[in-house]
Amino acid sequence: MANYPIVERLLAGDRRALARIVTLIENNAPEARPILAQLHTHGGHAHIVGLTGSPGAGKSTLVMQLARELRRREQRIGIIAVDPSSPFSGGAILGDRIRMQELAGDPNVFIRSMASRGSLGGLATATRDAVRALDAAGFDTILIETVGAGQAEVEIVRAAQTVIVVTVPGMGDDIQAIKAGILEIADIFVVNKADRPGADQTAAELRMLLSLDEQRKERAWRVPIVKTSAASGEGVPELADKLAAHLASLRETGQLGSRSGRQARSEMLALLHQALLDKIAATISTEDWNRLIDEVVERQTDPYSAAGEIARRIGLAAAQEQD
């Protein structure tokens, strides 16, 4: 069928239509799904880049500098900057635009701030779908800036094709660097604030960490370590070169397809998960829930049997076989 008018407007470059669609996605409006279904068929052209790292590492400033550099290379840039929501009020202060003022007024740059709204992996639940909207709108590169992340916020892997992990000098010794988690997901390491003392040592520790990783040695892509000073823009052209090189490497090795496949799979699983929860909510009344919970607490039954009963009632055949 023909595209919805708001989708046509987005495809024609209407920024208000794009912004409005992102709002619908964020609010999980019922209209968002049919719109996203149409947008999906128009996407697939953008290079999706994630930037993550600890709070204060300079992610926003680096995103701004990187966007400027890519603009010099005649690319159109979409930016999604995620900041945390308050766990108490649900409100948020989204301050990433403050560092991106030099991009204001450029019609080829679109910046959208996003509150994490309780999502824990460093992104908002709506981030991937917002990327889908920007992709359909024809941006060449989409930069996703995560919530300031520590060690375990690795959700960006499921949203981006290239992950940049931003570190700064003096953030801990080399044991920090061999822990599992965020350091494993980097396609490119950036040591930002490289004008500060200790930058060379941090870069050396990261290089040591990479050399310990036997699996990485077999891969075609060797994770580069780029020293930047986002405040002055030093090292940013080199970072842009590495981005392009990583995309080329993903294409050559066929990994672009396998990453997309993994991401599509995790996205479908998440949607099915949600559909299952919706089905449970629609089938099992609050009273039944509370009765089952009470029975488990009183030890009249156990969590496995209680969950089994719910599974049976929503029509899961596998649950019946267990009886």
Partner: protein, 154 residues
């Protein structure tokens, strides 16, 4: 919410206190930082698709800046966003400011609760629906329970 500091004044404590209060009231606040041009404010409002723009100004340049902001909003077809101002706004300028379509002009000493209540009472509740009318009446690819409810509500 977009909290903006237009013009050449660097005193943004008021804007930050306001941003924090709105956050604590459960709102998502985009703070632009200081020295915003009317173009920057309007562009941010469009990209972020905000419900309201709150401008804090202490420099006395409001009669130069506010008309430009309103004109740019009009040019871009943004007619469903609540625009508010606060800061040092002389009483004699208030009628002219309200004439421009800028509402809820709050001076120093206004309790935060007053501003929050004003925002809650004045943002357009049906902001999202105008773009979606074709979707809702078309309906072919679109038969979820929620949409039927929202159509019924209309």
């Amino acid at each position: 919410m977009l909290v903006a500091k237009p013009g050449l004044d660097g005193h943004d404590r008021g804007a930050k206190v306001l941003a924090r209060a709105l956050r604590d009231a459960g709102m998502e606040v985009i703070y632009t930082g200081i020295r915003q041009t009317p173009q920057m404010i309007v562009e941010a409002a469009i990209q972020e698709d905000v419900d309201a723009i709150l401008m804090s100004i202490l420099s006395g340049a409001h009669m130069a800046i506010f008309p430009k902001v309103m004109e740019l909003l009009r040019q871009n077809g943004v007619d469903d966003v609540l625009v508010m101002a606060g800061g040092i706004l002389p009483d004699e300028d208030i009628p002219a400011i309200e004439q421009m379509g800028i509402k809820g002009n709050f001076g120093p000493g206004t309790p935060m609760a007053t501003i929050i209540e004003y925002v809650r009472a004045n943002i357009a509740p049906e902001r999202l629906t105008q773009d979606l009318a074709p979707l809702r009446s078309g309906g072919a690819a679109f038969d979820t329970q929620e949409s039927q409810q929202s159509q019924a509500a209309q």
